[in-house]
């Protein structure tokens, strides 16, 4: 495939994921409204929000380091777009890709939060500084359990490190004890990666005024909005690809895929709506002393299951 083809696919996947992400943002808000017995926003709401932000003035705090402050959201968006392209190509054409693209995806997923920290630090606001330090601790807490969960899927599919073959390996990692534990851990890590309640300490809007995003307005805020919509579309896709068999090319494959996708998003929304915000020390304790040992147990179970050839372990 020539370079233009690759760039075209990249742009198409990014734009498609963006559209799905904006739809999911609305879906999330609508489900929230239904949980709270409200009517909720109309279907075009995310589009109106983004358009409006593009038409608003962009303010720069006097204390900000201009370049870092403005460019950080764009790099975050680009990284999530790249992840989206890699995941869709693994889901739609499992034979493409390269060995180790799972590792690349996991590392690329780290860039949006890192860019959030960079932009927040560059804004020179004390609220954003508190938010950035919390975001840093949040990454430290959820990254280890997230890796362990991915490792379970890798072990269960005979040490495959490639997304396409993991999705079409024939063994669905979720349908086993270690797989279920790993999926639960991955869902918790997804909640933290998306910055949703109970793990939204970095942007707590009542105590530190949206924390890491406090100084953003206008176009950069629109890019942040888009980036977060993109992440909302990317994370369930990653979980389905790694743990839940991806997109099966059969008649029932597509509806089942959409069902799994929406189920994961509804789960995120319901967790968000039924939990209070945790303090950052509570989050660290939860992930390190609660979730991480569980992840190690899941890895051991998966390994034993492989060694003794027990399918359900």
């Amino acid at each position: 495939m020539n370079a233009f083809g690759i760039i075209g696919i990249y742009i198409a996947a990014a734009a498609g994921t963006l559209a799905i992400g904006l739809y999911l943002r609305w879906f999330d808000r609508k489900v929230t409204a239904m949980v709270q017995w409200r009517k909720g926003p109309p279907w075009y709401q995310p589009v109106a929000d983004v358009l409006k932000l593009f038409y608003k003035e962009t303010l720069m705090p006097a204390t900000a380091r201009g370049t870092g402050f403005l460019i950080a959201p764009a790099i975050g968006l680009a990284a999530s777009a790249l992840v989206a392209a890699m995941l869709w190509s693994a889901v739609l054409t499992p034979e493409t890709g390269f060995v180790g693209d799972l590792i690349v995806v996991v590392y690329l997923l780290l860039i949006p939060p890192l860019m959030t920290i960079l932009g927040a630090s560059a804004s020179g606001s004390p609220h954003a500084a508190i938010g950035a330090s919390r975001e840093m601790k949040l990454i430290l807490s959820y990254e280890l359990p997230f890796f362990l969960a991915m490792l379970v899927a890798v072990i269960r599919t005979d040490w495959t490190l490639q997304l396409g073959p993991i999705a079409s390996a024939g063994v669905v990692p979720l349908y086993s004890i270690s797989g279920v534990i790993a999926m639960i851990i991955a869902i918790l890590a997804m909640q933290a990666k998306l910055g949703q309640v109970p793990f939204d300490t970095a942007e707590a809007e009542c105590e530190i005024m949206s924390g890491v995003y406090v100084e953003y307005s206008g176009v950069p805020l629109a890019i942040i909005y888009l980036g977060r919509a993109m992440m909302l579309a990317v994370m369930p896709l990653l979980l389905i690809t790694v743990f839940w068999g991806g997109l099966e090319p059969t008649g029932w494959g597509i509806p089942a895929f959409i069902g799994k996708y929406l189920l994961l998003v509804v789960l995120v929304t319901l967790i968000r709506n039924t939990n209070p915000r945790l303090r950052i020390d509570q989050i660290m304790r939860f992930f390190w002393f609660g979730v991480a040992p569980l992840g190690i147990a899941a890895v051991v179970l998966a390994y034993l299951g492989k060694a003794w050839a027990i399918k359900w372990l």
Binding site: K39, P41, P42, L51, K52, K56, E205
Partner: protein
């Protein structure tokens, strides 16, 4: 331009500024979020910082202490934005007019920063949530003229 007007009208984000209200107006503002009124139907949400806001929901009589802060918040709000003066206090200082601790009043304070500011008044002590929704609709109409 039509697209700009549409987007601005359909997505008003509200930041709530208290300039010395008795807290009754603030409770009525929060009422807007409850299932009965649910302003998210119109795409309005409450945000945590003036930098994200399109509407400043100002309550209170604008005391001397609060006035410079209100002006600073207005300066920090990206334009175009609308100021909603909620309650008799914010409209004309209500029963506190001519007290020793009063600033210039919400509209005068804002006009001192930006003479072209869009200000909508919601009279009442406290105003009903319906009145605030009506004011929001009027604010949307005003945004059209920008």
């Amino acid at each position: 331009m039509a697209l700009k007007n549409w987007a601005l009208r359909k997505s008003l984000w509200v930041y709530h500024v208290n300039t010395g209200a008795c807290n009754n107006c603030d409770i009525e503002v929060l009422e807007l979020l409850t299932p009965k009124y649910d302003i998210e139907r119109f795409g309005m949400i409450l945000v945590g910082t003036p930098r994200h806001a399109d509407v400043l929901a100002v309550t209170g009589a604008c005391t001397r202490q609060a006035q410079p802060r209100l002006q600073e918040v207005y300066r920090q709000t990206p334009k175009p934005c609308v100021v909603m003066a909620i309650g008799s206090c914010a409209g004309a200082q209500g029963i506190f007019a001519e007290s020793y601790h009063m600033g210039a009043g919400v509209d005068t304070a804002i006009k001192a920063v930006d003479p072209d500011a869009i200000i909508v008044y919601v009279p009442g002590c406290p105003p009903k949530p319906e009145a605030m929704i009506a004011a929001a609709v009027k604010a949307m109409e005003l945004i059209k003229t920008l």
